[in-house]
């Protein structure tokens, strides 16, 4: 083993630990995405509904989240909130922070999708006397959500990479596992390179799949 070379057997020996980290990374991304999409949709609708005070609050919340780093939000939930009596487990903190952070982006994505719907859809619905809630659930949202699925999917890929930040609050996700393995053997070249390779393989494969789906969607239309 020399410190500037590359030791294949060491690199491969890190994989079981790295895979367990990757598993946690994927689980965090999965729950974070669900949270982001749900909160994002609610934020978007509250904001667009022009409810006095509430819409303004939603709007401010989105700006606040987008205007501060995810790392700060993570620290805030993990280190500050317990001081105010609200403490969450590390993993719950991570998923919550990811979900809330990306919800602000998802809200903007949904809004763009809704605004893209031709005004004629509203006009047809209103002139047919349909109740407003049904116009949303039956006409506007089904079209808007389908239209933004590729953008949301790209958001999930971005979130997947951002989960590396969770290593800073003791969660043993992919990056934390790499660092831990390196610290045990006093050698970081192989584990951290493998960590990078794993992030790349997963996000590249996912991006290719989205492209394929988009292509098929375009052909169908």
């Amino acid at each position: 083993m020399n410190s500037f070379g590359w030791d294949w057997s060491y690199a491969i020996s890190t994989l079981p630990d790295l895979f367990s980290g990757l598993k946690l990374t994927i689980i965090a991304t999965f729950f974070g995405s669900i949270l982001a999409v749900l909160i994002g949709l609610v934020l978007c609708l509250v904001r667009m509904a022009q409810i006095p005070v509430l819409s303004g609050l939603a709007s401010f919340w989105i700006q606040l989240i987008r205007g501060t780093p995810l790392l700060i939000q993570l620290y805030f939930i993990f280190y500050v909130l317990p001081g105010w009596g609200l403490s969450l487990a590390a993993f719950a903190t991570g998923v919550l922070a990811l979900g809330m952070y990306y919800a602000a982006y998802a809200a903007e994505i949904f809004r763009a999708g809704i605004e893209e719907i031709a005004p004629g859809q509203w006009e047809a619905s209103l002139t047919l006397g349909m109740p407003i809630p049904r116009v949303w659930t039956g006409v506007i949202l089904p079209q808007a959500i389908v239209a933004v699925i590729p953008v949301l999917a790209n958001m999930v890929i971005a979130m997947f990479k951002e989960t590396a930040l969770l290593s800073s609050i003791t969660i043993m996700e992919l990056l934390a596992q790499g660092k831990s393995v390196g610290s045990i053997h006093f050698r970081y070249v192989e584990p951290l390179t493998m960590v990078g390779v794993l992030y790349f393989i997963v996000s590249y494969t996912a991006a290719r799949m989205i492209r394929r789906l988009e292509g098929r969607h375009a052909i169908q239309n």
Partner: protein, 275 residues
């Protein structure tokens, strides 16, 4: 918004047919977009069953008349009544005040519209498009709504296309679905907004035929914005010529379309025919 109102606007007889009180009645209606006055003090009465063709250059206000009649836009001035009921106002001890949204929604239900761009719901089949208002506006049970929707689609010649989405249908077929959909609530007044303008020429005929059949078979009143002059001659009881937000000439088609008095009407018809 405060509207100026003419309280003396009692029920009037339609000049063309004299068939009892007007079903659609506009008094001194004006509408602007920004600085541009689109309609300027329009009075219009349409009798039950009357078919009125609206012609005129683009921007003359004919489409806006339809959008006002179904309550998609609100006039700055004047009143609109449908079957005797004010669209935007409620009577309150002899005076008129701004009506609730619910009132407006109720009144506009007797009016249907077919748009130039069809405005079908692209994620629904033809059948689902027609079923939608039956289920969600008047609350029919699904099987009943489905049966009625299928009947309406059969009437416009689409019995074999019930499960197709708009993207799988030709423009003419899409517009016929849209006609069936707007017929679903059995409106008493139907508005047609240049319903063949977005179609390829070879598809115009099938849509005009459907509208013509409707005009002959039903006692609905119709307001039809169109550039198809021979079609207007065929089905209209009365023709209104619009220019710069006013009705500048009106009368039976034999007069307005065949022997127009106004130079502007003559010029417009010449331009249409030379197209």
């Amino acid at each position: 918004m405060q509207s100026r109102i003419d309280p003396s606007g009692s029920q009037t007889l339609s000049p063309a047919t004299g068939m009892g009180p007007a079903l659609l009645s506009m008094r001194n209606v004006s509408k602007s977009y920004g600085d541009r006055k689109i309609l300027d003090g329009i009075d219009l009465d349409v009798a039950p069953g009357e078919k009125v063709a609206l012609i005129g250059p683009s921007g003359s206000g004919k489409t806006t008349i339809l959008r006002l009649a179904i309550g998609l836009v609100e006039p700055e001035e004047g009143t609109i009544r449908i079957d005797g009921r004010y669209l935007w106002h409620e009577e309150d001890g002899g005076r008129l005040r701004r009506a609730s949204n619910k009132h407006t929604r109720q009144v506009r239900r007797s009016v249907g519209i077919v748009f130039q761009q069809f405005n079908l719901f692209p994620h629904m089949s033809a059948l689902e498009n027609v079923r939608e208002p039956l289920v969600h506006t008047i609350g029919l049970p699904r099987p009943e709504a489905e049966k009625r929707a299928a009947g309406l689609l059969a009437k416009v010649g689409l019995a074999d296309h019930l499960t197709k989405r708009p993207a799988q249908l030709s423009g003419g077929q899409q517009q016929r679905v849209a006609i069936a959909r707007s017929m679903a609530l059995q409106p008493r007044v139907m508005l047609f907004d240049e319903v063949t303008s977005a179609l390829d020429p070879e598809l115009v005929g099938e849509v005009l035929k459907v509208v013509r059949d409707l005009a002959h078979e039903t006692d609905m009143s119709m307001l039809i914005v169109t550039h198809e002059i021979s079609f207007a001659i065929d089905i209209a009881d009365r023709v209104l010529m619009f220019d710069t937000g006013k009705i500048i000439e009106e009368g039976p088609p034999s007069q307005v379309l065949k022997a127009p008095q106004e130079p502007r009407t003559r010029q417009f018809l010449r331009a249409i025919l030379e197209r």
